[in-house]
Structure formats: C-alpha cells, structure tokens
Amino acid sequence: MSSRLSSAFSKPHPALICFITAGDGDTAANVDALVAGGADVIELGMPFTDPMADGPAIQEANLRSLGAGTKTADVLQIASDFRVRHPDVPLVLMGYCNSMVRRGPEWFASAASKAGVDGVICVDIPPEEDAELGPYLRDAGIAPIRLATPTTDAARLPAVLEGSGGFLYYVSVAGITGKQQAAIESIEANVARIKQSTDLPVAVGFGVRTPEQAGAIARVADGVVVGSALVELVGEYGNAVPAKLRELTSALAQAVRTAR
C-alpha cells in the first residue's frame, strides 16, 4: 500500500479527505488551497459525462469541466504537477470506469502511477467486476479503494474488502453525493462493524458538508470525506474560490483534528 496513504492515516488525528473535480476552474490553485487549509488527502474527480452516483453539485462540476475541454491527459497532468508541488500529500483519483479503462486498464494504471497517484476510487466497479481494473492497479502499486454502503451486509463485506487497499470508503447513506446525511448512530455502528473485519482505515463520506458534521464523524471513523460542499464553492466563486476553499477546509480540519 502507498506509504503516503498509510502516513495520512497514521497521524494523531483522523484524516480529512477533500474532493474536487479536475478541470473545474483553476484546479492547481484549488488543490493547493485544500492542502494549505489542512486536507490530509486530496481526492481528484475525473470528469465524466454520466456521473450516475453524483448529486447535482458534482454533476454540474463534471459538466463545467468537460465543457471547458478537460481531457484525460489534462487530469493526469494536474495529478503529476500536484505530485511535484506536494511530494508527501496523498492523491486519489475518483471516477467512473469507462473513462479509466478506455485506453486499456494497463495504460490507465501505468499513467496514474507515473503521475504519482496513490489510490483510485472507481464508483461503478463492484468486487464482482474487479478483473476489469483492480489487478492492474495493484500491479502498478496503486491502492484500489472500494466503497462499502449501508446495503453492504455481513455476507458481502468480505468480498468488498478482498483486494481493496488504501482505505475503505464507507458511503454513509444509500443515495448520491451531496444529499442528506445519515444519523451519526448508524454511521458509528456501521464503521465499528466494518472495522471488526479489516485493518484498513475506514473513511466516511456522502452528505458531509459542515465542520460540525465532519467533527461528529471524526469521533467514530478514521477519516472524513467532504466533496459537494467544496465543489459548490467552485461553482459559486469561480476564480475567487481558492480563498473560500481554504477557509472551509481550515474549519473542517480544525473540527476533525479536535474531534477526539
């Protein structure tokens, strides 16, 4: 597993994972603002025409990015430039499988590895279809980060964990990104259940928008993922957004770091 990812989860506080869509605005300035604000892991969204698991905020970010002409090559360039500026901050690509396997999974795994990517979250490759991409990522030293959800029952959980790496992403609600949040009791119970079955860190996302929510989750999980709230700022503030991103990220980081 990536040493950068394991370091991020070995800090004395839970990890704050900040998501932003690549190619939506000045991505270099935006991710730098997230790092400056205290993000422990950067999750970079690969724009896709049909983001089926995403709510309106990230859908719109995808369309803005594609409308601006973002190509896969641009996303990889953003990643490798980030790696030069931030040699120690883990970087995870998140996206949908068609844009990842289009030139072949070997090509993608190799290109992502060269760009300094530590992990890949592919929304629409469940464990049953792991052969499509997982083996190539593992061979390239990239962590395939799987999602577990409220519908992942005890019978399925071992299959989800098998072959996954980096951290386990627990989707707090059955639904899409950026919508309602689950009750903290349910999140706590599910994270505890998952942690009984794995040594991987467990991060929680979907519907986490405020420092209060992030702090509450940080009390019960190893990491907190915030996406839509950041992406909405990009949509709202355009070129003036880095300061806003840094401000929200700082507040989130403070909440996460003082949660326990």
């Binding site: 896709f48 089926m52 709510g55 068609n98 396997v101 289009r102 959800t149």
Partner: protein
C-alpha cells in the same frame, strides 16, 4: 445464455455502485425462483393474452412483396399490442417480479415515451405508484406521451441534467433507485443495464419470437430465411431473434439508426459506429470519444437514439450469428410512407428502419424465400415528426 455473472462473452456484467449490488443479486435470485414457478408463468401468459392481446398476428404483406419483387415479406404485428408497441411485454413481466419481491414503488426511464407509457399502464393496472424519468428535451418533443403517462397516474419527472435525453433519464432513474433501495423496483425498458436485466428483458420479449416461429411454421410449413428488426437498446430484436438462434438456416439482420449517415457523428449506431465500453451497468458498444466520454446519439426515431446497445447484441455481433446494418433517417422516412400506402399500416419510426432494410434485402432474394420482420410499434406517436420532416403543417 449469459454466464453465471451475466457476461455474454466479454460483454454484459454488473458495473454498478456498491449500493445497488445487493439489490441486483436479490433480483437475480427472485427471477430464478420465478422462472421455476409455474404460477408466475401462468399469470404472465394470462395477462399477455387477455390484457395485452397476444398472440399478435403474423401478417403476409402482399402488396409490399409485389412492389419489391423478391422475397415474401411477413410482419410480426407487435404494434397491435395494448399501448401500441412491444414494450408492454417486458413491463408485464417486470411488474409481476416487483410484486413478487414486495416492492411498492416503480420507477422507469423513457426516451420517446413508449416505455414510460407501458410502465405507467402496468402500474395503473396493479395500483402501484409510478415515477418516470424523461429528459427535458424529450418531454418537450413528446408531449402526447407525457400526457398519456399523466392520465395513467404516473408522475413524469423532467431531467435537465447533462444533455436532457434518454441516457440522462437513465442516470437519474439510477440515482433515484440508489436512494430508495428498500421499496423501489426499477423497470428497465430494454435488454440492457446490469445483469440480470438484459437476460430477463430478453426472456420476457421472447414471446415475440416463440409466437412468430410457431405461426410461420403453421402458415408456410417452414422457417423464414431472414429475420429483420430495428435496434435501439435491442429488446424487440432479441425477442424476435432469440427463439431462432439454434436454427442455423435462419439468418438475422439487426438494423441500427444511421441518422444523417455513419460517416459523421449524427447517428445512433452503437455497433457499427461505436466501440466497446462500460455504461449503465454493462459492458457493450457505446458512442464515445477517445477519453470514454459518452456522445449523444441522433436518430429521427426518438426510440433509437440511445448511445448504447444491449450487451447480447454486442456478443451476437462479435460471434457473427447476427448481421447488423444501419439505415438513415431519410431511408426510414421513405419506408414509413411505403408501408402506409402499400399495406394500410402506419408504422412507428423505429420499425420503419427495419422496413427500409427489408426493402433492400427482399429485392436480392428469390421469390420463394421468406423475410419475417418485427413491426414493433405503431406510428400514431410519430405523425408529428413525420409531418415536420415532410414539410406539412398540421
């Protein structure tokens, strides 16, 4: 048959978010049980006979045959079904599954509105709430079908995301499903999506081919030389073809929408003008760019302009068992008018593509040969589009 994980060769599969995986596995288990349950099949058959109006006739088209001067042309008249297309066959099967699984809320996607109308129809018949996702662009250009769905008690949700057409409606239906997993059944309208949908939709639609096979044998004493069907997602074609796949002398032709022509990017021919990729739960041929971004399909027929195709067709293409061709908007429009004038049948624009292919092939075949084409929908819904294309004010 697909393998146990739903792959047709390299195609098919279950490429969905983890939230949906347990549901899809559950659906497959329940479907396998239903297949073994004579009561399920009996209820399906009974509804098809008394509610849908099956079997649909097999009709010899004498004037069209004479006009073309070659093979005998026969039509499977699935446009005479209740709601005017083959779509209802699948909806009956899926709503029976939904009820069997204790689901209390039905969602569907629709492009032209035919599948939406068929879904709204079965929901009214069984008293279940129905939400139909439809691209805002399609809502605007298919107003009669929107009103039909509303009359039938369905809620029609216009989808403004993306390009606001069928693929976006399907994205939105998947988003609804993932957020309402406990009580909701998603009735997919074509033989695509994650396993087991491609297989179960094909099986429900296979009533078309089973009837046609028995009918042509009883009427002519032999099997047809060529089957022809239009392909959007491909369910009517699979329904016709599947019961003949083991008849080696029966050739099959699937007809995609070439729109303005295959040389440009204004078509909906995923097999002939696309490449393999992964979308909406399955690996299949897609219209996409070099980065795997999905491009918009175009066809005069709103029922054919989906940028993907059912995975079994992708497999039948690669295996060579079925031949695929494509027909332009103009050729389909000519075929539409030809059938109106020669046989007194106003076909939908979807099967007009099949008819256009029939007109080309029939001429090249001897007079004692038989073409059997699926007339999968009636054209009432399309008269506005056709009038506009012909420059007629209504």
């Amino acid at each position: 048959m697909p393998d146990e994980r739903g792959h047709f060769g390299q195609f098919g599969g279950r490429y969905v978010a983890e939230t949906l995986m347990p549901l899809i596995l559950d659906l497959e288990r329940e479907y396998r049980k239903a297949q073994q349950d004579p009561a399920f099949q009996a209820e399906f058959d009974d509804l098809l006979e008394h509610y849908v109006g099956r079997p649909s006739p097999l009709y010899f088209a004498p004037r069209l045959t004479e006009e073309l001067g070659g093979a005998q042309v026969w039509f499977k008249r699935d446009e005479l079904n209740h709601t005017g297309a083959h779509k209802i066959n699948n909806c009956i099967g899926q709503i029976l599954l939904a009820i069997r699984m204790g689901k209390t809320r039905i969602i569907a996607e629709t492009g032209a509105g035919q599948h939406g109308v068929a879904t709204a129809t079965v929901c009214a018949r069984f008293g279940l709430p129905c939400i139909v996702y439809m691209g805002a662009t399609d809502v605007a250009r298919q107003a009669p079908n929107v009103f039909r769905m509303k009359l039938l008690g369905a809620e029609v949700v216009p989808v403004t995301a993306g390009a606001a057409t069928l693929k976006d409606a399907m994205n939105e239906a998947l988003r609804d499903w993932v957020a309402n997993v406990h009580d909701t059944f998603y009735i997919i309208g074509t033989a695509a999506g994650p396993h087991p949908y491609p297989e179960l939709v094909r099986n429900f639609q296979s009533v078309i081919g089973k009837e046609a096979r028995a009918q042509i044998l009883s009427r002519t004493g032999r099997l047809p030389d060529l089957l022809v069907a239009a392909i959007g997602g491909g369910s009517n074609a699979l329904g016709l073809f599947h019961p003949f796949l083991d008849d080696p002398d029966v050739k099959m032709l699937g007809v995609e929408a070439a729109g303005y022509g295959l040389d440009g990017n204004r078509h909906a021919a995923s097999l002939l003008g696309g490449s393999p990729g992964i979308l909406h739960g399955n690996k299949t041929y897609l219209l996409q760019n070099e980065d795997g971004q999905i491009t918009e399909g175009h066809s005069i027929s709103a029922g054919l302009d989906y940028p993907g195709i059912g995975p079994e067709h992708a497999w039948l293409k690669e295996s060579g068992r079925v031949e695929y061709t494509a027909v332009t908007d103009d050729e389909a429009l000519d075929a539409f008018q030809l059938l109106c004038r020669n046989e007194g049948i106003i076909p939908a624009l979807e099967p007009s593509h099949a008819i256009a292919a029939v007109t080309k092939r029939a001429k090249e075949m001897p007079k004692d040969s038989i073409i059997l084409a699926n007339l999968c929908g009636r054209g009432d819904k399309d008269i506005f589009t056709v009038a506009e294309k012909l420059g007629v004010e209504m």
